[in-house]
């Protein structure tokens, strides 16, 4: 389906009454525009005859004022729905973007997406505003004039139609080339946007290594490409669209050169010929508008294709339908993993998890240890259902022993019971409070509790407005450790039954880490008792866990508590020795 038709169907149609009112206002405007010259002619006649003109003249003034009103109205009634359409399309686009999954974003550039949502979307507005107005104007003019021409003389009409049709064919060919160039231009704009974003985000490196000129050089290459595409488009456009006017001029010349002799020969009335020429003259404006319209249609098509491409990207959200049967409040669920194997969809040949078998009792604190690439984060992502694990491999066990396959559970309900803190501590440029709560109206008491549990309280004093400090893009105002603890506080703010912490303590110092691990363990053992997974490459963060899973190349190679794992040779004990640092003297007592 042509993207413009789709836009009209999905977004324009529901605003049809506004358009209809716009058409009425347009008719009124045009009616007045025709009426006023007639009225002026009458006044001049009256003037000539010496008749009183006061009433007529006042009528003209009044009509002039009315034109101001109805013309404004006609434009507003056509243009504002265009804005509405733009708004609604952007809203839907953003809502869709929020639902698209990581697999989608892996193949996208952020700057390009924003370029689509900001630059390409304007074509939707133009098409549904100015474009429609022009379409109505142009088609009315052509219908009326064309009809009258046909009535006057079908033969002469042919003289008019032939050059115009020829011009249209050429224009059509140009439009195909235009469409191609327009697509390139919009894609290039996206790339340029992305480059600007990427460079600004790496500004510390760019400036630190005095690489400004190199980056400017790359930018200028893109900018130059954009310029060349723009000029190519300008050529095509400026050559193509005035062709329609040229066509109508050729038609007039034809009328004179061929119709003139015919009229002289008596085949045609002189009056008809004159009327034809006059009619053709009235088409000049609409023909110019037609050029604009074709331009909007063609650019709008290229732009909207890019919008709909995003909107049509399948969400592939790992939905489920059953209600979540969790143990009653205050008890984390148990989990059973049976032969869980997993490979990411974009690399199915490389299994990341292999044959995991595991029983996690309700309310347990599970440590997950392994090297990079051992599958720790993947395990967390599967439990959080960023991707759905294969059916039947993960079973959730409620307090009353009710069992359900994880993937059948309603996704939103499942995530509502979860608290996931991913490895990358991502903060928004909002207040710290808003970042921690991520809800509309944060509860102050819970906020304080979460901040304090995440050991973030001492840092608040150093921030200008405490919890209300806006942290800057990606939390730039905070140190790495502060960012991590803010993300952790976000995880603790929620009253979750299952807490998944993916290596969230890597940037905090060890005293803070020890305090946090203690808090988390207390939380898990306390009356609320969520089930907790702590992923870390630092064994100090794991040693208080009820059970530690040791992953190696996607396999569960060992499990047990800290003591038992130390008691047998293996990856865990090796790492422990390594991290303890054999050269260091054994810790001795002494006041810190």
């Amino acid at each position: 389906m042509h993207p413009l038709l789709r836009l009209a169907r999905d977004y324009g149609w529901q605003r049809r009454w506004s358009y209809l009112a716009g058409v009425l206002a347009l008719l009124a405007t045009n009616g007045l525009a025709v009426r006023i010259p007639v009225e002026i002619g009458q006044v001049i006649d009256a003037l000539r005859l010496g008749d009183p003109v006061g009433r007529h003249a006042a009528g003209i003034v009044l009509m002039g004022l009315c034109v101001m009103g109805v013309r404004t109205l006609s434009r507003v009634l056509f243009f504002n729905p265009g804005r509405d359409v733009e708004y609604a399309l952007r809203r839907d686009l953003f809502a869709h973007l929020l639902r698209l999954q990581p697999a989608f974003y892996a193949g996208q550039k952020r700057g390009d997406i924003i370029s689509r949502a900001s630059n390409d979307i304007t074509w939707a507005r133009l098409a549904m505003g100015f474009g429609l107005l022009a379409a109505v104007n142009v088609s009315t003019a052509f219908l009326l004039t064309g009809g009258q021409m046909l009535v006057l003389s079908p033969r002469l009409t042919l003289f008019v139609v032939a050059p115009l049709a020829l011009a249209l064919v050429v224009v059509r060919l140009c439009i195909l080339a235009l469409l191609e160039a327009q697509r390139e231009l919009q894609a290039e704009t996206g790339r340029l946007s992305d480059q600007v974003l990427g460079t600004l985000q790496g500004i510390a490196t760019v400036q630190g290594f005095r690489a400004e000129e190199a980056f400017i050089g790359r930018f200028e290459a893109r900018n130059e490409a954009l310029y060349r595409l723009g000029m190519k488009l300008a050529w095509l456009r400026s050559v193509a669209f005035p062709l329609l006017i040229l066509g109508s001029g050729v038609a007039v010349a034809l009328l004179l050169g061929v119709g003139g002799p015919m009229a002289l020969g008596g085949d045609l009335s002189v009056g008809d010929l004159a009327a034809f020429v006059a009619l053709l003259a009235t088409l000049a404006g609409p023909l110019r508008s037609l050029g604009w319209l074709l331009s909007i249609v063609q650019q709008g098509r290229a732009g909207l294709e890019r919008i709909f491409e995003l909107l049509d990207a399948p969400v592939e959200r790992p939905e489920g339908t059953s209600p979540v049967a969790m143990p009653g409040p205050g008890r984390g669920p148990g989990l059973q993993l049976r032969r869980l194997s997993w490979a990411y969809p974009d690399d199915p040949a490389r299994p990341v998890l292999r044959d995991l078998d595991l029983v996690v009792p309700p309310g347990a604190v599970i440590g997950v240890f392994g090297r990079t690439g051992s599958g720790k984060s993947t395990l967390i992502r599967l439990l959080a259902r960023v991707y759905n694990p294969p059916p039947g491999t993960v079973t959730v066990v409620g307090a009353d022993g009710a069992r359900a396959d994880l993937v059948t559970l309603d996704l939103d309900a499942w995530r509502a019971r979860l608290s996931v803190v991913p490895q990358r501590a991502f903060l928004f440029s909002e207040s710290l409070a808003a970042n921690v709560a991520l809800v509309d109206a944060p509860d102050p008491a819970r906020l304080r509790a979460a901040v304090s549990a995440a050991a973030l309280e001492p840092d608040l004093a150093a921030l200008p407005q405490g919890l209300d400090t806006v942290v800057g893009e990606r939390g730039i105002m905070l140190s790495g450790g502060q960012r991590q603890r803010a993300a952790l506080a976000r995880g603790l703010y929620r009253d979750a039954d299952l807490v998944l912490l993916d290596d969230v303590l890597s940037a905090v110092d060890h005293q803070t880490e020890a305090r946090l691990v203690e808090t988390l363990t207390r939380l898990a053992r306390g009356p609320r008792g969520p089930t907790v997974f702590i992923v870390s490459h630092r064994l100090s963060a794991l040693r208080h866990a009820d059970r530690i899973l040791v992953l190696d190349q996607g396999r569960l190679v060992d499990q047990g508590d800290h003591k038992s794992l130390l008691g047998r040779p293996g990856l865990y004990r090796d790492t422990w020795e390594q991290q303890r640092d054999p050269g260091a003297p054994a810790p001795v007592g002494g006041a810190p």
Binding site: A46, V53, E212, F215, P242
Partner: protein, 590 residues
């Protein structure tokens, strides 16, 4: 906005240097316009001639010639039209090209302190769509406003010659129109500036949420994000809809006003107004019908360019709004420092004395009197709890952030007096967040520096064990945004290679804390050792092994150095360092 609005003229003056090289193209467009108009006027004249002199009287001879002449005129008009559009497009596109590059260059020269407070999505909007509006204004022929004005003046003169009295009446009616148009123009300009703001806000919000989309999804905060977006999106719709109303009003006002003036003039011409006001007939005597017909015709001609102009006024105001944002950025952005004394090769003797620093005025000092000294060739470790100021010190040393108090000297010269470009040639930093660009591998290592030979890049990558990545992927491999296709360890080694390839004398190294598998970890450790033996290094250390390799350790607490010495000495001291070392097996501080 509390600030006084810059005048349109002064804003255009700002941008004129970017358009000046194409002044000839603008002049060409301006010169072609009357020709186009002339050829367009010739068409009805030829037509009338053909019908009146040939068709009606039945004079066939010469009709063919007239038809030919008409064709020539039409073709000429077409060609001139193409020339006109192309010269404007050329001028507009070149101006955009230049302005965009200038803006980007300006952005790269801004201080990090300033950029910290600017959402990148917003800055991106300035470089892309705000610049675009300006080109539109040029291309859409804002320049022909001059011609429109000339036509208006010409018609007015003709009217005055015909009948000064009626012209006076017409002119008396003009002030309310001009007043109204000016009001609307001002409102439009303000609204368009608001539109630019709203667009930037929408883009910035969207950029950030897409960046953090996984967090939003996992936290189930989609509704909150959608609400936040809707607020900005609705603001944009509101302000654009309002601007629409005024834009429509501007056009319609000028359009309808022509009729109003015609009506009043007719009234006056008939002497009816004089009668109605009880005035003496001699003051405003009835005018001849011929004059009235001519006058009404002139009025039509007067309002055609006015209507055209009112359209262009809106386009111009939109461009001016974009310009307002652009000039704001050009003027307000705090530039990174560029002046200072030149600096050659350094030995790396660094002394900090009572250094204090706050990121922004009004924020508490992050450094509260730091004293430390680094000897040439030394490896110095900074250790301390998270937020103690370790990273901040390294940010001052390559002057990523300026404005420290106290004294920092490099080989005896005060840091703030040195030329930044020279300083950064000598001092390079490896930051904690690996900044990988979506460019190829070679560019990510050499950063386009022509002074770095391929051999130097090979050597640097081999030295820090990044050669495995290069072999696996190839130098021309395009890396993904933020190194998404590299492991953390690979990214780390790549940033080491980047630093070594640039061959600085002093390296600031913020040791990464993210998890790295033990194999890569061993490579990273070895790479670090190799760097340590070759360069003077200040390392923000997290690993005990790194700290032990240091010649001297400074322990920071709340923005001050509280302990200094070697690992064993500090352990023996049993103070802050000993506590840190005891708490973390193998890992220190944050």
């Amino acid at each position: 906005m509390s600030r006084r609005e810059a005048s349109t003229a002064s804003l255009l003056a700002t941008v004129w240097p970017y358009a000046r090289p194409e002044a000839w193209a603008l002049a060409l467009a301006l010169a072609v316009t009357p020709l186009v108009a002339g050829l367009q006027l010739a068409q009805p004249w030829l037509l009338r001639k053909a019908i009146d002199e040939h068709v009606v009287p039945g004079q066939a001879q010469g009709l063919g010639g007239l038809a030919g002449a008409y064709l020539a005129v039409v073709a000429g008009a077409y060609l001139l039209q193409v020339a006109y559009t192309m010269s404007l497009s050329f001028a507009g596109s070149r101006t955009i090209l230049r302005l965009r590059s200038a803006l980007f260059r300006h952005l790269l020269g801004l201080s990090q302190r300033y950029l910290d407070g600017q959402p990148t999505g917003r800055l991106m909007t300035r470089v892309t769509s705000d610049v675009e509006a300006l080109g539109d204004a040029i291309t859409a022929g804002a320049i022909t406003l001059v011609l429109d004005a000339l036509v208006v003046v010409g018609v007015l003169v003709a009217m005055a010659l015909l009948d000064p009295g009626l012209t006076l009446v017409a002119l008396l009616l003009a002030p309310p129109l001009l007043f109204a148009v000016d009001r609307v123009r001002r409102v439009l300009r303000r609204l368009f500036v608001e539109v630019r703001d709203a667009v930037a806000a929408v883009n910035a919000f969207m950029a950030e949420r897409i960046d953090g989309v996984e967090v939003i999804q996992l936290q189930g905060a989609e509704a909150l994000a959608a609400a936040g977006f809707d607020q900005r999106n609705a603001r944009l719709r509101g302000v654009t809809s309002r601007s629409n109303v005024f834009e429509s009003l501007l056009f319609s006002m000028v359009d309808g006003f022509g009729s109003v003036v015609a009506g009043v003039l007719l009234w006056v011409a008939a002497g009816a107004l004089g009668q109605a006001l009880g005035l003496d007939g001699s003051l405003l005597a009835p005018v001849s019908a011929g004059t009235v017909v001519a006058f009404v015709d002139y009025l039509d001609r007067l309002f055609v360019p006015l209507r055209e102009a009112s359209n262009k006024v809106a386009i111009l105001q939109r461009a001016v709004a974009g310009l307002v944002k652009i000039t704001e950025l050009l003027a307000e952005g705090e530039p990174a420092p560029t002046d200072g004394a030149p600096l050659g090769e350094v030995r790396g003797h660094l002394v900090l004395r009572d250094v204090r620093f706050a990121y922004r005025p009004g924020l508490p000092d992050v450094l509260q009197g730091v004293d430390l000294e680094v000897q040439p060739g030394q490896v110095v470790a900074l250790v301390g709890a998270t937020g103690s100021g370790k990273t901040t010190i390294t940010r001052l040393l390559d002057r990523s952030y300026d404005g420290y108090r106290g004294s920092i000297t490099l080989d005896g010269r005060e840091l703030s007096s040195l030329r930044v470009a020279d300083l950064r040639r000598r001092v390079a930093a490896v930051r904690q967040d690996q900044q990988i660009f979506s460019e190829d591998l070679a560019f990510n290592v050499g950063l386009g520096n022509p002074g770095i030979s391929p051999q130097a890049m090979d050597e640097a990558t081999r030295l820090v064990h990044a050669d495995r990545t290069v072999q696996a992927l190839g130098w021309t491999h395009m890396l993904r945004e933020r190194g998404a296709d590299l492991s953390v360890g690979e990214g780390q080694l790549l940033t080491f290679a980047r630093t070594m390839a640039h061959d600085p004398d002093l390296i600031l190294l913020d040791e990464a804390t993210a998890s790295i598998d033990s194999l890569t970890e061993a490579l990273v450790q070895d790479a670090l050792q190799r760097i340590f033996t070759r360069k003077t290094v200040i390392v923000v250390a997290h690993r005990l092994s790194t700290v032990q390799a240091a010649d001297r350790i400074f322990v920071l607490d709340a923005g001050r150095v509280v302990e200094a010495g070697r690992h064993e000495e500090l352990l023996a001291l049993g103070g802050r360092y000993a506590a840190l070392a005891r708490a973390g097996e193998g890992v220190l501080g944050g």
